[in-house]
C-alpha cells in the first residue's frame, strides 16, 4: 500500500500510509483504539475507497472497488465484529458469495466437504451443520477464518481477533496463525496488545493518529513499542494513600444472573465492598462482569442470591430506587447505556435526577435550575463544551465520559460503580477520571471498578477480584504479580486448572 489517505469529513483517518507485507510473514499493525488501523484494512479490503494513494499486489497496482475484487486477488479479512449470518449454518456462511451449484440448485454436499477439507487441513475443527448463533465466540471466529481460507487467500487480515477471546483461545489462535504462515500465507494482524505481537509477529508497524510512526522487530522491548503507540511513556499510576476500609456497604451473596441467551453469566458470585475502599474486578470481557453489575443496578433480574446495600436487601429494587438510595453508576458502554446523544449536555446531566428538586417535579421540569447546575458541573469537571445546550453527541469521547462522571458524582453517594470507566477516553481524561474515583473513595464511599484493562484495575484497586466464567476465582491484593493475575484471568488457580 502506497500513500494511502482516507478522510471522513475533517477527520483524517489515514494520512499518507505506506505498508508492505512480504509473502509468508505475520505483519502486526499495532496501535491504540481509533488510531486508524481498521480504516486502513477496510481500504485494503475494498470496503472503503482511499482518497489518495494506491494498492500494489506483487508490485502491480490494483484497483479494489469492493470486497469481491479483494477476494479475487487473494485478500481475505476477519472483521472485528464477525460477518456471519447468525441463523445460517457454518457451511452456508462459508459458501455465501461463492456458492457451489448443481443443476441450478445449491450444492450442500460440496459445501460441507469443502468446510471439512479446509478445517482439517489447517487444524480448525468445525461442524458444517451447526447454526452460527449457537456457537461460542471462539468457534465463530474459526468459521470466519475458514471462510476466508476456502477462498484461497494469500493475505489474511485479522482485525483485533483476540479482543473477544479468553487467554487459551488466544493462544490457540496464535498457533493457528503460525501454522498458516508456514503454509505460505501472509497475515496482517491488527491489535493493540503488545504481548501477542511479540509472540507471533515477524514485522511490526505502529500506527498513531492515522500515521505510521515507525516499524520495529518483534525483539524490540515492550516499553519501546508502547511509547511508539501512545506517543509518550505510559504511566498508569494514580497517586493515592492506603485505603482505610470501613463497614461493608455492598454485599453480594450467591448471585446468579442469566445473560441475553439465558445462559448463566453470573454463576454464584460472593463479594463485599467496604466503605473507603476500591474493589476492582479484573477479567477478560464476557466473563459475567457486565451481567453482575447490571444485576446490582436493577437492570437485569437475578435468578438466585441476594444483593445487600447498607444492610437493606435491594435485590428486587428498580433501577430508579437503587440510584436514589445513593448509588452512582458509570455503565460500560457510554453511547449505548450512558448518554442520550441527541440531548443537550444539560439534559444529560440530569438524566437520572430530572424528577428531583430543584430540577423538576411531578409534572414540570425547571429548565433554569437544570441549566444553572449544568454550568457549575461543566466547570467543576472540566468538560470542554461550547455551550451546555450543545448535544452531547458532539463532544469527544473523553468529555462525554466526564458528563456521565459529573452526573453520577454530583449527588451524595454511598456506593460508586464504574464499569470500564475510561474506555475510549483520551489520556488526560483518564487521569482526571481516575483521580475522581480515588477522591470518591477518600470521602468514604465504597467503590466497585470493573475493567478489562488489567493495568487500570491494578492502578485503582485496593483489592482485586478476578472473575472467570461467572465466578470470582480469587480476591488478591494489588501487589500480586501480573503473571499470577494473568493465570487467574485464564481460569487457572494456584491449586491447578479449573
Amino acid at each position: 500500500m502506497r500513500g494511502i489517505t482516507k478522510r471522513f469529513g475533517d477527520l483524517v483517518a489515514n494520512d499518507d500510509i505506506h505498508l508492505t507485507v512480504e509473502p509468508g510473514e505475520i505483519h502486526a499493525l499495532l496501535g491504540e483504539n481509533g488510531a486508524g488501523k481498521s480504516t486502513l484494512m477496510n481500504v485494503l479490503y475494498g470496503l472503503l475507497q482511499p482518497d489518495e494513494g494506491e494498492i500494489l499486489v506483487d508490485d502491480k497496482p490494483v484497483k479494489i472497488k469492493g470486497p469481491s475484487d479483494a477476494i479475487r486477488i487473494g485478500i481475505g479479512m476477519v472483521h472485528q465484529h464477525f460477518m456471519l449470518v447468525p441463523v445460517f449454518t457454518v457451511a452456508e456462511n462459508v459458501m455465501l458469495g461463492a456458492e457451489p451449484n448443481k443443476a441450478g440448485f445449491l450444492d450442500h454436499a460440496t459445501a460441507d466437504r469443502l468446510v471439512r477439507e479446509v478445517s482439517q487441513k489447517y487444524g480448525l475443527p468445525l461442524e458444517p451443520d451447526a447454526i452460527i448463533e449457537d456457537l461460542p465466540i471462539g468457534i465463530q471466529q474459526r468459521v470466519e477464518i475458514v471462510k476466508a481460507l476456502t477462498r484461497d487467500v494469500d493475505l489474511l487480515i485479522l482485525d483485533e481477533p483476540t479482543a473477544v477471546l479468553t487467554p487459551q483461545e488466544t493462544d490457540e489462535l496464535l498457533s493457528v496463525m503460525r501454522g498458516l504462515k508456514e503454509s505460505g500465507k501472509s497475515i496482517v494482524f491488527i491489535t493493540h496488545k503488545l504481548r501477542e505481537v511479540k509472540a507471533v509477529a515477524d514485522q511490526i508497524t505502529v500506527v498513531r493518529r492515522g500515521k505510521i510512526v515507525g516499524t520495529a522487530a518483534p525483539t524490540a522491548p515492550e516499553s519501546e513499542l508502547a511509547e511508539m503507540m501512545v506517543g509518550r511513556s505510559v504511566i498508569l499510576e494514580v497517586p493515592k494513600q492506603a485505603a482505610q476500609p470501613g463497614a461493608p456497604v455492598l454485599a453480594v451473596r450467591g448471585l446468579v444472573v442469566a445473560d441475553d441467551r439465558l445462559h448463566r453469566a453470573v454463576d454464584g458470585v460472593d463479594l463485599e465492598v467496604r466503605a473507603g475502599e476500591v474493589l476492582g474486578i479484573a477479567g477478560v470481557q464476557g466473563n459475567g462482569q457486565t451481567e453482575l453489575v447490571e444485576s446490582i443496578m436493577g437492570l437485569r433480574p437475578s435468578l438466585a442470591g441476594t444483593v445487600t446495600f447498607l444492610g437493606r436487601d435491594i435485590t428486587d429494587w428498580s433501577t430508579r430506587e437503587v440510584l436514589r438510595s445513593g448509588v452512582g453508576y458509570i455503565p460500560e458502554d457510554r453511547s449505548v447505556d450512558g448518554l442520550v446523544k441527541e440531548f443537550s449536555v444539560a439534559e444529560n446531566l440530569v438524566l437520572d435526577l430530572y424528577r428531583s428538586e430543584p430540577f423538576g417535579g411531578r409534572f414540570a421540569l425547571n429548565p433554569k435550575a437544570i441549566d444553572e447546575s449544568a454550568k457549575g458541573r461543566v466547570e467543576e469537571f472540566d468538560i470542554r463544551v461550547q455551550s451546555e445546550q450543545q448535544p452531547v453527541g458532539a463532544l469527544s469521547g473523553g468529555n462525554q465520559q466526564k458528563v456521565i462522571v459529573a452526573r453520577e458524582m454530583s449527588r451524595p453517594l454511598k456506593l460508586f460503580i464504574a464499569a470500564q470507566p475510561t474506555r475510549g477516553v483520551d489520556v488526560g481524561s483518564i487521569e482526571f477520571i481516575h483521580r475522581r474515583i480515588i477522591a470518591e473513595r477518600d470521602v468514604g464511599s465504597a467503590v466497585l471498578v470493573v475493567s478489562s484493562e488489567l493495568d487500570e484495575v491494578v492502578a485503582l484497586a485496593d483489592r482485586i477480584a478476578v472473575m472467570y466464567r461467572g465466578r470470582i476465582l480469587a480476591i488478591v491484593p494489588p501487589g500480586t504479580p501480573r503473571e499470577k493475575l494473568g493465570l487467574l484471568m485464564a481460569g487457572i488457580t494456584s491449586e491447578g486448572a479449573s
Partner: protein, 451 residues
C-alpha cells in the same frame, strides 16, 4: 443507518463510533435544524435569503408542496379527455395546447383557493353590499365559509396528527390512529346518543368517553410492545381493522341502531352533546378546532417542559440509556401510546359530535391515515402538526370546491397530499430536483457535530 459492525474506526479525538455516522443517516425527522440566526457579518435579511434558498426544513417543505401541486396539475391534464386529446396536436397547435392546459389547471387551483381560503369576488360583493350574479347579497358568513370549512377539516387531523407525532418522538410508529379514532367516535357517540344530560355535562362527558376509549385502544399497543416486544406497526394495523369491524357490529345493536333506516347508521347524538359552533350555526367550524389547538399547545409544553416529555424523548432517542438512568421504559411506552390513543379518540369524537351526528361505518373518514401524513409533514412537532393539518384541511375543503366547480375529482387531493409527504420524507430527492444548497447554518451545525 450503517450497521455498526462496519464502521470506519474514528480518530482518537472522537473514538466514539457513533460520531462518524453521516448526518444523512439520521432520519429527517430527528434532524434538528435550527432556523437561521443573525450571525456576525451578515444582515438579518441576507441570512434569511440564504436560508430560504438553502436546504433547511422549511424550504424543503415549501418545495415539496410546489412540486406536488405541479404534478397534480400534470395529472389533471392527463385526466381531462379534451385537454388530453389536445396534446395529440401539440406539434400543430403548441400554443393552443398549452393554453388549454393552463386554463384547466389554473381554473382548478383557483377554485381550490376559493373553496379553502377566500373567494375574492364574494368578498368584493360583500364589502360593497352588492348582489352577486345569482341575485343574493353575500353575508359575512358566505365570505367566511371557505375558512370555516378548512378549520373544520383540520380539527380532527390535528388530533390524529398529534397521535402519530407523540409516539414518534418516543420511537414508536403509530399507524393505529384510525382504529383509535373509531373507538373514540364510539365512545363519544355513545355518550352523545344514549344519555340525556345538560350540555355543560354532556359535552365534557362525551369528550372524556372518546378520549378514554381511544386511549385504551392505544394503551393495548403500548402494553403489548412493552411486555412482549410485539411490533407496534403490525399491532396497530390489525387493531384498526378490529375497531372497524367492532364499529360495524356496534352500530347494529338495538340501543344504537336507527330504527327508521335500513343502512348502517346509528341514532343521532342528542343536541346537548353536539359541539357548539364557533361563529354561527351556518358555519360548520366548531369547538373541535379550539380543543385541537389546546391539545397541540399542551403537547408542545409537555414535550419541552414536562417531566413526562423528558422521559418520552429520552426513551425515543436511547431506551438503553433511559433505563440505565432509572426511567421505566415499558411504562413510558404504554403511557405514550395511551396518550396518543386518547388524542386520536378525541379526533373521532370531533368527527361524530362536531359534524356527523350519527355513527356510520365511515364516521371518521380517513382521519387516522391522514393523521400519519400530517404528522410526517409537520415533522412530528406539535405546531408543525397544526400547520400541516391546516394545509390538509384547506386542500380538502378546496378539493370539494374544485370538484363542484371544475368537475375534477377531489381524489386528486389525496394524491397531492401523498406526494407532498413523499417529497418531504425524501429531502435528498427534493434537494436534487431543486439543486438546493446546503444551509450555512446547518453546515455550521454539522461541523460542530463532528467536533
Amino acid at each position: 443507518m450503517t450497521s455498526p459492525d462496519n464502521e470506519p474506526e474514528a480518530m482518537a479525538s472522537s473514538p466514539d463510533k457513533s460520531l462518524s455516522q453521516p448526518e444523512s443517516g439520521r432520519p429527517y425527522y430527528m434532524q434538528e435544524i435550527k432556523p437561521g440566526k443573525h450571525r456576525a457579518g451578515k444582515t438579518f435579511w441576507q441570512t434569511l435569503r440564504e436560508e430560504f434558498y438553502a436546504d433547511n426544513s422549511f424550504t424543503v417543505t415549501l418545495a415539496a408542496i410546489v412540486l406536488a401541486l405541479f404534478l397534480g396539475g400534470v395529472l389533471m391534464i392527463i385526466g381531462d379527455a379534451n385537454v388530453r386529446a389536445q396534446w395529440g396536436y401539440f406539434f400543430y397547435q403548441p400554443l393552443t395546447t398549452l393554453e388549454a392546459s393552463w386554463d384547466l389547471v389554473s381554473q382548478a387551483y383557483t377554485d381550490m383557493f376559493k373553496g379553502s381560503i377566500v373567494d375574492p369576488e364574494v368578498l368584493r360583493y360583500w364589502y360593497w353590499n352588492l348582489p352577486m350574479p345569482s341575485g343574493n347579497i353575500p353575508t359575512w358568513q358566505t365570505a367566511l365559509r371557505p375558512l370555516s370549512e378548512t378549520l373544520t377539516n383540520a380539527a380532527p387531523l390535528v388530533f390524529t396528527g398529534l397521535a402519530v407525532a407523540i409516539p414518534f418522538r418516543a420511537g414508536l410508529f403509530n399507524i393505529g390512529g384510525q382504529g383509535q379514532a373509531i373507538m373514540g367516535a364510539i365512545g363519544g357517540g355513545t355518550v352523545g346518543l344514549a344519555l340525556s344530560l345538560p350540555a355543560a355535562l354532556h359535552i365534557p362527558l362525551a369528550i372524556l368517553a372518546g378520549a378514554l376509549l381511544g386511549g385504551f385502544w392505544g394503551y393495548v399497543v403500548g402494553l403489548l410492545k412493552a411486555k412482549t416486544g410485539a411490533h407496534e406497526v403490525i399491532v396497530t394495523i390489525m387493531l384498526n381493522y378490529i375497531a372497524l369491524y367492532f364499529l360495524i357490529w356496534y352500530i347494529r345493536q338495538s340501543f344504537a341502531d336507527e330504527p327508521t333506516r335500513s343502512d348502517l347508521i346509528s341514532k343521532p347524538a342528542k343536541e346537548t352533546a353536539l359541539f357548539p359552533k364557533i361563529f354561527d350555526d351556518s358555519l360548520r367550524v366548531n369547538l373541535g378546532i379550539v380543543l385541537a389547538i389546546l391539545a397541540a399547545a399542551g403537547v408542545a409544553w409537555m414535550l419541552k417542559r414536562g417531566t413526562f416529555g423528558f422521559e418520552l424523548r429520552a426513551v425515543g432517542y436511547n431506551p438503553n440509556a433511559a433505563s440505565t438512568a432509572g426511567i421505566k421504559v415499558g411504562a413510558t411506552l404504554a403511557l405514550t401510546m395511551a396518550l396518543a390513543g386518547a388524542l386520536a379518540g378525541l379526533g373521532g369524537t370531533t368527527m361524530v359530535l362536531g359534524t356527523a351526528q350519527n355513527l356510520t361505518g365511515e364516521v371518521v373518514g380517513q382521519i387516522g391515515f391522514n393523521g400519519i401524513l400530517v404528522a410526517l409533514l409537520g415533522r412530528v412537532k406539535p405546531w408543525g402538526v397544526v400547520g400541516a393539518a391546516l394545509l390538509f384541511g384547506a386542500l380538502q375543503a378546496g378539493g370539494a370546491a374544485m370538484q363542484t366547480f371544475s368537475g375534477i375529482s377531489n381524489e386528486l387531493v389525496t394524491v397531492i397530499q401523498a406526494m407532498i409527504v413523499i417529497f418531504v420524507a425524501a429531502p435528498l430527492l427534493v434537494k436534487a430536483i431543486f439543486r438546493l444548497r446546503r444551509s450555512p447554518v446547518a453546515a455550521a451545525q454539522a461541523a460542530l457535530a463532528k467536533g
